[in-house]
Point group: C2
Chain length 380, copies 2
């Protein structure tokens, strides 16, 4: 099917900031978006053709999306792969990435097994269905380790560190369900690579260094401040990961760098926070690339325009309340600084409300300092 501008609609499950930035990328291509999201006037709503209000995993909502769309995709892992598959078959609307990929990624244990079997380097892990399982696994893996719920976690939710044998019972209770435990990786650095799969082609964006605090992404820079050999290895691993996934679109591949090698951390079957910098930093953004992939258009150039850093604007309030961001004038006095606001009506502590990006000629460390200072000028 060829892409005729204004005649191609993509239905997106999820209308958060990723849906919003997909919407910003869609208009120039002549692609119209309809999104579904349970929150009325979701972040994407003002910039897309329409929003259908409904839960991410509600099949009738997915069906309504499909009936208005030429392609289906999703920007959140809470989408239901079974519903997507049934609706796609019933309506003939292709869905990308393939729901099988979503199913694979939703279950962290299944994901890790499949990746390990495909030769992707992953931390040592064990399945955990009981306190006894966990205790036995930790005798092999040692302490500390990370207990992870098999399903439903994101931004560090659903992850519980186990520091010593005394903490085993409490950790298992906190997860309270099917889990896996992973060896603690004493990493030197966290890296991420956005991969892209098109119609018979695949590519990666430049390797990104990701800096988390309390498991929430704070800043990124590209190039990552590591060796060229590690960057090349990260790219290889990302391409190996793409081989395991099916369907088109972009995929976020999160990695640990440890002792000059890399280990896979997690995969996101969609645009990812670690790739937001590509909007200004690369010749094609991850959002345009996702749409090009879903539509089967030629993938765009992924080369970097220049060294780039980004910083998230996170909620810094004690109680949930209406979002009211002050300090924009101050932040924007910085040359070349770009603001991205997500349009969320309410702010709560550590909620991702927007981000800033800076493309420069300076070293990543200097760029990081500038974006951090810019965000420090902003307050709710």
């Amino acid at each position: 099917m060829s892409h005729v501008p204004s005649e191609t609609t993509v239905g997106v499950v999820g209308g958060g900031q990723l849906g919003r930035m997909l919407g910003e990328a869609a208009a120039p291509l002549g692609v119209e978006l309809v999104v579904s999201d349970p929150t009325p006037d979701a972040p994407a709503a003002p910039v897309v053709r329409d929003q259908i209000v409904g839960d991410f995993d509600d099949e009738a909502t997915v069906r309504a999306l499909a009936e208005r769309a030429d392609y289906l995709t999703f920007e959140i892992e809470l989408a239901d792969p079974d519903a997507l598959e049934r609706v796609s078959e019933a309506t003939g609307t292709p869905v990308h990435p393939h729901p099988e990929t979503l199913r694979l990624i939703q279950d962290k244990l299944v994901q890790k097994r499949r990746l390990r079997d495909a030769g992707v380097p992953v931390p040592a892990f064990r399945a955990v269905d009981s306190v006894a399982d966990l205790r036995a696994a930790l005798e092999e893996l040692g302490y500390p380790a990370m207990l992870k719920a098999r399903e439903g976690g994101y931004d560090g939710r659903g992850n519980v560190p186990v520091e010593s044998p005394d903490g085993v019972g409490t950790a298992f209770e906190a997860i309270d369900g099917p889990a896996m435990v992973e060896e603690f990786v004493d990493y030197d650095r966290e890296l991420a690579v956005m991969g892209a799969v098109g119609d018979g082609e695949r590519d990666t964006f430049p390797v990104t260094e990701t800096i988390h605090e309390a498991e929430i992404l704070r800043t990124t820079c590209s190039p990552a401040r590591t060796t060229e050999a590690v960057r090349e290895r990260a790219r290889e691993v990302a391409l190996d990961v793409l081989d395991v996934l099916s369907g088109r679109g972009v995929f976020g591949v999160e990695l640990f760098e440890t002792n000059g090698d890399v280990l896979l951390n997690e995969i996101a079957p969609r645009p990812h926070n670690s790739g937001h910098w590509t909007i200004e930093g690369c010749h094609t953004s991850q959002f345009e690339q996702h749409l090009r992939g879903v539509l089967g258009l030629p993938l765009g150039a992924t080369d970097r325009r220049g060294p780039t850093a980004s910083a998230n604007i996170l909620g810094d309030v004690e109680t949930r309340r209406q979002a009211h961001l002050a300090g924009v004038e101050d932040a924007l006095t910085r040359d070349r600084l770009a603001l991205h606001w997500y349009g969320k009506h309410e702010v709560y502590d550590l909620r991702k409300m927007g981000h800033v990006t800076l493309v420069g000629e300076a070293e990543p460390t200097a760029l990081l300092e500038t974006v951090r200072n810019a965000v420090a000028d902003l307050r709710f």
Copy 2:
């Protein structure tokens, strides 16, 4: 007034492609747009908060816009400066640029007089209210010359060349109203400079070479293929032009290059086709810059990311009909090529339907060849 994301709405008179690209630039800044346009589902409609259907010069429509907006602006010269001024005063909603600027620019004779008086180099011109005026003026200015309607012309409409004394009567009849006649400028090249006025600051984007055919812009490249001295002179003249205008926003300054100097051709009090390349080609686009200007935010960096060319996608059909663009896959096989579709439902001959842009490391001439070839792959 400070800019609070999601709480700032800009009302835009006009919802064509300029309104659409303003909408694309507005979302990241957390600025919401409401546009007014007589055509339902105008190009901007799918990417902005709302469209009010109404004529550009209808005061009730402007009033409805103002009542929903914190700032008013316009993306078309057909806006009515008197209505804008009255509504702005009645509602307290600031309008940028100032309606006085619109008034000045709408009348080509008044515009040229004011610019000449301010020391801006303009071609020799005379007011023309009758055939006798025209004949007398041409005895001084010589043949050929360009007769221009004082009001209402764009894309070469309202401009009639007068080749010889035999053509005087026919030319005057074609205009049939208040006019001016301008000496024929045997230019070497056409240039354009986008100027930007913020709150107490002003700047220019890099000088652009504009290539017209039958008075319609076809392609642009930046840097312009001329000397550094001419580029510097063009920038100086553009800054002198900004001094004559009032209110904030971006302004298109079209120039003739002749014998190593420049002469002013025309001014647009809004983003302009000659600046579309800035979306990819500069660190801040003319559209974001216009919004920053209108809101009084710090102006963004106008430096060029790299040599850039753009080409318009023009209607190539004999009769007006539904727009259906084929060949997008072929055009997009070119590395780094960006597509911009305007979302117009109908196409007619030479209608501006979209554009493509390429930022590269190559010389402008090579980039121009690539964008021309890309557009040649597209057909309605």
